[in-house]
Amino acid sequence: MGGVVPLLGRTAGAMILGWDGAPVSAGAEPVGPFRCRIARLSALGVHVAVAGDRTTTAIDDELGLRPTGPGRLLLAGDSGRALAEVTSCGPVPVGQWRSASDHSDSLRMVLALLDGVGVAGELVVALGADIGRLARLHDARVVVVPEPGGAAGVLALLDEQLDRAERLRVPGVARDPRWTVVERGADPARHRVTESLFTVSSGGIGVRGSVEDSPDYGHPLVVAAGVYAGAEVADGLLHGPDLIDVRLDPPVSDDVRVLDLRTGVLHRDETRADGPPLRSLRFASISEPAVLAMRVEAGAGRLQVPVGPATETEWRATGSAYGGIGAVAEQRAERAGAVESVQCLVAMDRSPRGRARPGRAHRRLARASVAGFERLLSAQRAGWSDRWDRVGVTIPDDPETELRLRLALFHLWGLSGAGRELAVGARGLTGHGYSGHVFWDADAFVLPALATIDPAAAAAMVRYRLNRLAAARTRARADGLAGARFPWESARDGDDVTPTAGYVGGERVPILTGPLEEHITADVAWGVVHHAAWCRPATGLTDDEAELLRDTARYWASRLEVDPDGSAHLRRVIGPDEYHECVDDNAFTNAMARWNLRTAATLASAPPVESAAWIRAADALVDGYDPSTGRYEQFTGYFGLRQLLVNELAPAPVAADVLAGRDAIAASQVIKQPDVLMIHHLLPEAAAPGSLAPNVDFYGPRTAHGSSLSPAVMASLHARAGQADAALDLLRLSLRIDLDDLSRTTSAGVHLGACGGAWQAMIRGFLGVRVSAGRLRLDPALPDRWPELEVRFRCVGREVRVRVDHDDVAVDASGALTVEPPADTRHRYSTSSGVTFAPGGMS
């Protein structure tokens, strides 16, 4: 022992050290110094594994520690044959192996356990050459200190960790390319895009990923779900108080920013600096909702913050009696040699109705302050790891798609914990885009995805619509109709906030979606019913859900027109394909209305006479289906339009109306996004049997994908049509929309509908999941480029894990679950848990 102690210069999330021999020869050393340091590290959330030759009981006796956590203490003993975790009751066995000549097996399990709490790669430090060699067998990125300098060196390294916490030093992240979105360099044009991509959200509040030094080309922003600045169309989301305002001189000229999806942490590292570089780390706390934790460090004197004890900032708030966002922060600065650090814990409050309440924010801040940054970070890592364990995707042969899907899931997860009601604007909590208005994206794209991720958040989305049923009734009455009509664009109150004019390219146009895009009403009803069926099939609809279903059905019953021949029609509407306005009998709108009527007749507990009338009305609604071709006509007269394919204009995706002019496109068969095919997407059981492929073949080449919602839906449909490779191309396109800023508007926020659509493409498209009467139907279709795939998701109250290759499907669930494979499946189905396979018949 002795000699120069090599310090790490980094903050560890876990430390593994050898105990009976190198570097610590326990019998020869006083144990007390180790005991107290490990206890303190555990209290900070740092996990420690001790590997020795003696039994875990013997090591435990010697160490004599009962850490209160949250850092875990693991004992790998008996020369690697046993692994135990020390709890308040003593060591609890977690693994045993019959024979082991070294610690290979036990260390593998240690690393797996650490991975389970979000600590992996460079966050794990192994002390000692032998331990390090074995640990690296299982994780190449583990940091190894081969010669820590004996017991004194190890103690110094443990002290370094404690000191780094005390000095508020910035922890790092594990730079696993499968989990990290990395941006290098300060490109002003790209910066606002990355601010959107790097948004972190918690408790219904989103904080854009703006850098700490706030360059003038940035757009820092805090927004909250459902909190608007006013009732006018243009008011949009309320901008919260500025939370991040670190004065930095000189500013950063070049950096690397890393969003670690695995732990929900945003890290920044200056790459060109004279002296200690700027580093920062922030996260929106998963354990303390609506709390943002941040640390920044830089060379002394560069951060213009006085060193000293923690101080609490004044309450800062924006908004009015209409709605508000407020924040209070605790800030503390420390100096360690040439480095100064600032720590900021920000607690926020939001109120969709009325001003934000400082009392709630102060209580959150008090809790966060007691926990402390390190424990919040430890909980952050563990919490996100738990999320990914329940919901996620693994595509071993396609890491790029895997990462992009994970980013989509990350932003969808950002909607969690917003409370009982959740308004999901088109850009979620990642920007001001679309004024935070709630479109059909929420009901048909985000909600079904969220139901597979966080059923409580999906339920809160449903609650947003239920709470605006009165406004929808008022709208229907104003239109001289019965029931309830939901607005195309909705904000706080559920009134229609659709703008009335805009521009297609440079052409000023009236916006008719507000008065004419009526399918939203059935989409809302669909979302409500879908959520109930997907998340809680045993309980059926609640009373207020049934009420919404009844009133939307009443709307359609009063809205449709019956011709003398008895056929029913919905005239003067706009379908999802907004290139063709004011059309009659849009197939999708009619199909959704028909579904709404029939489902209400079945599920909404309406008077029998009314239900019977709904059934008759539904049966009378035309849908443009031609059995001879298997095609639906998108609307009356569509087939007579100029036959034009998108690739005759330009390669898709393309805003065809901008390129060729609205009138020219309206006179052609080019469509903005799937329209007829949305029947197959949302209502596969209602579509004519065998009609998917002919409609994909017909409408696919006519689809410009001029809507960012389009590629993901088409990916799902192609997968269902047996064209999985084409589906993958479309999925990849969808996943590029924000990461590659294909729309040039990601600066205004991430396209959350596209995120939801992409995840739906995985669940409904590639896995072929449907839920019917509480049973899971599963019919996977993998592209050739994916030899295997694992998807984890939630449905029917279960956590489900599906592993697929081209021959086998393995399904496991957290509880009893019945799975129906298709009757003609070529896959072999198996399970190692409580899954029952029932004969299918699905086509």
Partner: protein, 222 residues
Amino acid sequence: MTHVTAVLERDADEQVAAAARVVATLLGADTSTLHLAEVDQSDRAAAVLEALTAAGTVGAALTARGPHPVCWDVITHVDVPLLVVPEHSERVLGGLARVLLPLDGSVETAAAVSGVARRALQEGASVVAVHVFDASTVPAFWDQPAHTHRHWTGEFLRRNLPEPVELDLRSGRPAEEVLAEADDSGADLVVIAWAQDLGAGRAATVRRALTAGRTPVLLVKT
């Protein structure tokens, strides 16, 4: 002192002289005059180039009118901004009330015209950028006419021209649309950034602006 040179191919070309005064005001320079009437046609380009590379020359004005205008021989070789009176222009430029900046979305174009835009704004002119969507620049997505337009134009301007200017969007052939926008908006000047390449298939907007347009064109090298 810096100066803007009025290149006069005929002695009394008030269009060019006035244009030079306007450019001089814009660039904060004096004016000077280069008379070419007595210079042999074959030597005119060399004379202009020599004058425009002289110390203190920060710009020039010349014309595309006439049977053999020298402008076509010099515009590809000059580093300073050149104001060219188009072939069919009848206007005598009296000042700059409205300036049009065609932007193709490239960093180079934006960088080339931003200085002129800033000075025009300082001089009190209204500056309008125009971007023309064609098959190579059309956005992939245009989700909604009001929201998308607001976000797209806002972001385009922030990336291309931080100065407080308006942005007009058009669709079609850029050369035609820029001229149409100049006519429709009553612009006094069109500022075009270009790579000084008149090769086949290149500089369609410059060619069209000088041969078919009516609005004076300030050419700025990228």
